[in-house]
């Protein structure tokens, strides 16, 4: 079966080369992501129950061959510099309590293994979901007696990237049975299908109905978030999930919600669930 599919793809490619000037890739690439010839990444998997699509596909498949290659080689992946910086921060004392992250959680990576694959989680103390950025801030304030990071501060992005990277290759799984996670999922689903802005587009309009098609030069993906924070070539920088949410909403010509607001936390819960079973790719490389 797989072989037949490959042959068809080759045929199509031939037709396209001989045919029109348009260079449409037509859907996700037929390729496998193995980082450093060692870590196999799940980039396609059966969708969880209740998911509107049959198959969940990583954004990696929708990028160009060059961009895909950057992510497959950690020496070339520009996001790895942020992982290194994040490790430095992890081990650096900050705040009045004289502690670093490593003071409590160790420096061998054991504590962090798999942790980033299961966020967002339910935060009992604040009665809402918590993501890695907010968990870092909570820890800084309560345990390190340090100031919380401002949204998208360079150190926030680097430390979040480092923490997520410790789960590289592990499947994303959000536990919706914790606390009131399910009602936040419901709210996130509602937002996912709500059309915003003068252009009147919802997340679903592009990422559910038209993934695999080009909008101008942009190959629309399913909008999965398993690679965040993600290195974006367009911005030559790490981009946080809430930054990306806001950018997408802004592009519909709408006002966008504040980072870590209830709306964006609900959206993070829901969209993370939509990518259930995909490997953590942080730091993914995208266009």
């Amino acid at each position: 079966m797989a072989k037949v599919v490959k042959h068809v793809a080759v045929l199509f490619a031939g037709v396209m080369l001989g045919g029109s000037t348009a260079a449409f890739a037509g859907g996700p690439s037929d390729d496998k992501l193995v980082i450093d010839d060692e870590i196999e990444i799940i980039t396609r998997t059966a969708a969880p129950e209740g998911h509107p699509l049959d198959e969940v596909i990583s954004g990696w498949h929708y990028r160009t061959e060059e961009t895909r290659a950057l992510e497959a080689d950690s020496f070339q992946n520009p996001g790895m510099l942020y992982v290194e910086r994040g490790e430095e921060i992890w081990n650096t004392v900050d705040g009045a309590a004289g502690k670093s992250c490593a003071s409590c959680h160790g420096d061998d990576g054991e504590f962090l293994k798999g942790l980033g694959a299961n966020y967002p989680k339910w935060d009992e103390a604040n009665n809402r979901p918590i993501n890695i950025e907010l968990q870092i801030n909570a820890c800084r304030e309560a345990n390190m007696e340090a100031k919380p990071y401002k949204f998208d501060a360079a150190d926030q992005k680097a430390l979040t990237t480092y923490i997520k990277h410790q789960s590289l290759g592990m499947p994303v799984e959000v536990d919706l049975t914790q606390g009131e996670m399910k009602s936040w999922w419901d709210k996130g689903e509602e937002l996912y299908y709500t059309r915003t802005g003068q252009l009147n587009l919802s997340c679903a309009t592009c990422h559910e109905d038209y993934n695999g098609n080009y909008i101008r030069a942009d190959h629309l993906s399913q909008g999965n978030v398993n690679g965040f924070p993600t290195y974006r070539l367009k911005q030559s920088s790490m981009v946080s999930l809430h930054n990306r949410f806001r950018g997408c909403i802004r592009d519909t010509r709408a006002e966008f919600p504040a980072a870590f607001s209830d709306d964006l936390m609900a959206l993070e819960v829901y969209v993370t669930w939509r990518g259930s079973g995909l490997s953590v790719e942080t730091p993914a490389v995208r266009q």
Binding site: A22, R195, T196, Q198, L201, Y210, A217, R253, A254
Partner: protein, 159 residues
């Protein structure tokens, strides 16, 4: 209040005039959504001023105006890179649709294709929630922009 009511009646009057003597109509601009799209058609010119296809071609390509290439491929503009593929190709679009139908589609495609259409309405106030402040109360294109784009689309013939 009275002004709003008057404006609502005006388009009906304009519609009447347009049918009697389309070329002579120089009356006011038709307000967004004031003339309903019926049977996939919008028969009334939005301005009474015939569209300029040359200007329409620019509006079509302008990323801050029509940005039509974001979703539609169009051979006539093949010098511009990266035509999208979310919407149908527009080569020969004038062979497939009438001017009245194209006007309706550009003005508010959802009134033609249904609410699930991805295509934004370019001259309607029926838009998404939380519209950014600088776009509030405004349409994507002006009435004359629409007429110009429709005039341009009418030049895209293959037969």
């Amino acid at each position: 209040m009275t002004k709003g009511a008057t404006l609502k009646r005006l388009p009906v009057a304009i519609a009447g005039l347009a049918i009697m003597a389309a070329s002579a109509v120089t009356a006011e601009t038709v307000a967004p959504d004031s003339v309903p799209i019926e049977d996939m058609e919008l028969k009334v010119s939005l301005t009474g001023t015939p569209g300029d296809a040359t200007v329409g071609r620019e509006t079509f390509a302008d990323r801050k105006k029509g940005n039509c290439l974001a979703c539609h491929a169009n051979e006539d503009l093949k010098d511009q890179l990266f035509h999208g593929e979310v919407g149908p190709e527009l080569n020969g679009v004038a062979d497939r649709w009438t001017e009245e139908q194209l006007r309706a589609i550009v003005v508010n495609s959802k009134a033609v294709f249904g609410d699930q259409s991805i295509m934004p309405g370019f001259y309607t106030m029926k838009v998404g929630v939380n519209v950014a402040e600088k776009h509030q109360g405004k349409t994507i294109l002006s009435a004359q922009d629409v007429e110009d784009v429709v005039a341009y689309l009418m030049t895209l013939k293959e037969n």
